[in-house]
């Protein structure tokens, strides 16, 4: 769907200690229960108490993740800021819904209303660094991050811009967890700490924020986004067809994939999609997964993409992600496949530079 672009830097806040080290070389944090929450960065390093008081939970998180991604890139002037979020700041949305009822539509504090607006974080990043640029925010559940990446890639491809900051942010709240539970999103029985590894209907809830600095040229970028293809509610065989077409276009065979990053979340209702892809892989390919460390959410593929960037930079696999060791001696081509409750399917072809 796109022509290749480059990912210069990547940052992640997740349920793992991924932010400070910017890798996953340390042992994974053992997570239990049905909801994985992200590890909060040390906000005092970035903001005054007054500033923090004005920012809600996910807003401050997204802003800090963006700040570090730009700092790593050594470039505070991206020509576009494009965001993806399935749910925006749920905390603010809920706070305002409650305030409307509690104060019977009387005099209300506007701050939660403003921050519930899906593009408010986008605006804040621009404000924080005085970035005058293109900006847009995609709010399409399991495609939110991918559409932000596509928008950036199109503009980099046509060279109307040369750099872009693309990011996602997602939080889960107790209230929204209940709503999604009624929609059968979550696993019902969590009797053991490793429930996330067991196949049953539903997923484990997660959250996090991921930012990427994109460049039209290679420079020092560790990873190339070769192609990105999206399939909505695929019919029989459509996902594999899309992958075959993507590989063929690059003149690649399945046995040239060194790494496969899977969005597997042990939700038995949709596992067959992942199983079909795994059937195509040869013994060469290292099979990795990541949601056992992050949980499931609209923009969780960002955790996989972040891991791919960082593994390419370090030229080594993160041990806690390995599901099945392959024999490939290098990490050149990587395939990342994610689907969100069977509806939104994303296929990333990546190449280490």
């Amino acid at each position: 769907m796109i022509k290749p672009i480059f990912i210069r830097t990547a940052r992640a806040v997740s349920a793992q200690d991924s932010f400070n080290s910017n890798d996953l070389l340390q042992p994974g944090r053992t997570l239990t229960g049905n909801r994985f929450t992200y590890m909060e960065p040390n906000y005092q390093d970035y903001f005054t108490i007054m500033q923090l008081r004005r920012m809600s939970r996910i807003t401050r998180l997204g802003l800090v993740t963006a700040i570090e991604c730009l700092r790593d890139a050594g470039d505070y002037r991206p020509e576009a800021i494009i965001m993806g979020t399935g749910k925006g700041s749920l905390t603010d949305t809920e706070k305002f819904i409650h305030a409307v009822r509690e104060f019977a539509e009387g005099t209300l504090n506007p701050t939660p209303f403003i921050q519930s607006t899906y593009n408010s974080l986008n605006g804040l990043i621009g404000l924080h660094h005085h970035i005058n640029s293109y900006n847009s925010t995609y709010v399409h559940t399991g495609f939110s991050l991918e559409h932000a990446l596509l928008d950036a890639a199109f503009q980099l491809n046509e060279q109307s811009i040369q750099t872009a900051l693309v990011g996602s942010f997602e939080e889960m709240t107790p209230e929204h967890y209940i709503i999604k539970d009624k929609l059968d999103f979550w696993k019902k029985e969590i009797e053991s700490p490793d429930a996330i590894m067991k196949s049953s209907p539903g997923a484990i809830s997660g959250e996090g924020s991921f930012f990427f600095f994109l460049d039209f040229q290679q420079g020092a970028a560790p990873l190339q986004l070769v192609d990105l293809t999206l399939v909505f509610e695929p019919g029989e065989g459509a996902v594999l067809n899309a992958m075959d077409a993507m590989l063929e276009q690059q003149g690649l065979g399945w046995d040239q994939l060194d790494v496969y990053l899977s969005g597997r979340n042990q939700d038995s209702r949709y596992e067959h999609y992942y199983a079909e892809v795994e059937n195509q892989l040869s013994e060469i390919t290292h099979q990795l997964h990541f949601k056992h460390l992050s949980g499931e959410f609209d923009t969780a593929a960002g955790f996989g993409l972040w891991a791919a960037v960082r593994m390419a930079e370090k030229n080594q696999l993160f041990p806690s992600l390995i599901r099945k060791q392959g024999s490939a001696p290098t990490l050149n081509y990587m395939l990342l496949y994610n689907q969100y409750y069977g509806k939104q399917h994303s296929i990333y072809l990546l190449k280490k530079t």
């Binding site: 305002f96 209300l108 005085h130 928008d151 199109f154």
Partner: protein, 400 residues
């Protein structure tokens, strides 16, 4: 850049259902603002609203097919605009990849907010909970995409008041990059207690009909509605044989990074969005026939937008006006609704009168066009500016 052709349009607003109803009222200078009948809020008669004058049931009764939709005001409004968009056109031509780029600020909030507090009680559940998915902005979009077979590419954009202008831009880019052959772009928002109280908390709702560009303006009125444009590439036109209504000849988006909710006093974002749009189209400011202004009638917007217009157009400011006084500010739908108004002007070679204007803003002295006028209309610049400094402009050009 490859050309982007507009071949279909559809609309629902406080002015009624369909383009004919809109044009009739615009030409006659009849506003759709009034007390709300269907909004569930104590403010429903305190402020004027641009409410679509039908109950949700009545909206559904006017649809020819809604088998794939949920019982939702948002989806009903969107579907009515989409049905009109395909009037006389084949819905799903063979070999054409087609998608939907939708825009909304709060998704199905209208449909959910009255039941939210039962929704968050774990013990309260019913056999079919699918309506609860409406809180996700994507839900309405996907139902509409399935109903109208626009599933080769489906997305939702939310950048506050500029959302559907950004949807149209992204759609144009998808065509120009060859990702799809044709794409329906636009937006939908229905009036909600959530949003009404949000704007009320910001203290920028006028208790009377708004007065765009007037020195004594006192805030905006909220509205609801939906509008969509069908955009086609040259390749698609060769297959469909559809006749273009107009060209989308330029577009731009610019974040001025000034303030979370207010525009910069001098209108930097508005200026850059308009200037870059004209540059992309390769035309000079002097070629612009008419400006469909964002003109929300808030103290901040109208003055900064006026200053941006003066900076770009100098002594030769083309006729301009804001239609927010007809429809209310329809938020995510406004960019697409006003794109349809711009297309009507191009089609019929006419412009519509500003209402409620008496006194020019002192520092700018700009006076909007106050009479219905038949004139040569070649290029229309349409502005949509939003929270977070998100400024978008579109340029529509006559196609012969």
């Amino acid at each position: 850049m490859p050309s982007v052709f507009v071949t279909g349009m559809g609309i629902v607003s406080a002015l009624g259902i369909g383009t004919a109803s809109q044009r009739e009222k615009l030409a006659a200078g009849v506003s759709g603002l009034g007390p709300a009948a269907f909004l569930n809020s104590i403010h429903k008669t305190e402020f004027p609203f641009g409410e679509v004058p039908f109950s949700t049931e009545e909206l559904f009764s006017r649809l020819s097919d809604y088998s794939k939709l949920q019982q939702s005001r948002l989806q009903a409004l969107g579907a009515l605009a989409l049905e009109e968009c395909f009037t006389g056109l084949e819905r799903k031509p063979a070999g054409i990849r087609q998608g939907l780029i939708n825009a909304t600020t709060v998704g199905g909030m209208t449909d959910i907010e009255d039941r939210y507090f039962e929704l968050i009680k774990p013990e309260l559940s019913e056999p079919d909970m699918s309506w609860a998915a409406g809180l996700d902005c994507a839900t309405g979009t996907e139902h509409l995409a399935r109903q109208f077979e626009l599933t080769d590419f489906v997305t939702t954009i939310s950048t506050a008041c500029s959302s559907s202008a950004n949807a149209i831009q992204f759609g144009a880019r998808l065509l120009q990059q060859g990702a799809v052959d044709r794409v329906v772009c636009g937006g939908v928002d229905s009036l909600t207690r959530f949003t009404v109280n949000g704007f009320n908390s910001l203290k920028n709702l006028d208790r009377n009909a708004c007065k765009p560009f007037d020195a004594n303006r006192n805030g905006l009125n909220l509205g609801e509605g939906a509008a969509y444009l069908l955009l086609e590439s040259e390749r698609s036109l060769e297959k469909t044989g559809n006749k273009p209504l107009a060209l989308l000849s330029g577009y731009a988006n610019f974040n001025e990074a000034f303030h979370p909710t207010a525009p910069s006093p001098e209108g930097l974002g508005a200026y850059e969005a308009m200037k870059r749009t004209l540059e992309k189209a390769g035309i000079s400011p002097a070629s612009v026939s008419y400006i469909n202004a964002h003109g929300t009638a808030t103290l901040n917007n109208d003055e900064s937008e006026s200053l941006a217009i003066l900076r770009l157009f100098g002594e030769r400011v083309p006729p301009f006006a804001s239609t927010k006084v007809y429809t209310g500010h329809t938020l995510a739908a406004s960019g697409a609704i006003e794109a349809v108004f711009s297309l009507l002007s191009l089609q019929h070679q006419e412009i519509y009168p500003a209402l409620n204007f008496e006194t020019p803003i002192e520092v700018t002295g700009l006076i909007p066009c106050q009479t219905y006028r038949q004139m040569q209309v070649e290029h229309i610049l349409s502005n949509s500016f939003g929270f977070g400094g998100n400024n978008a402009s579109l340029l529509f050009s006559r196609y012969d």
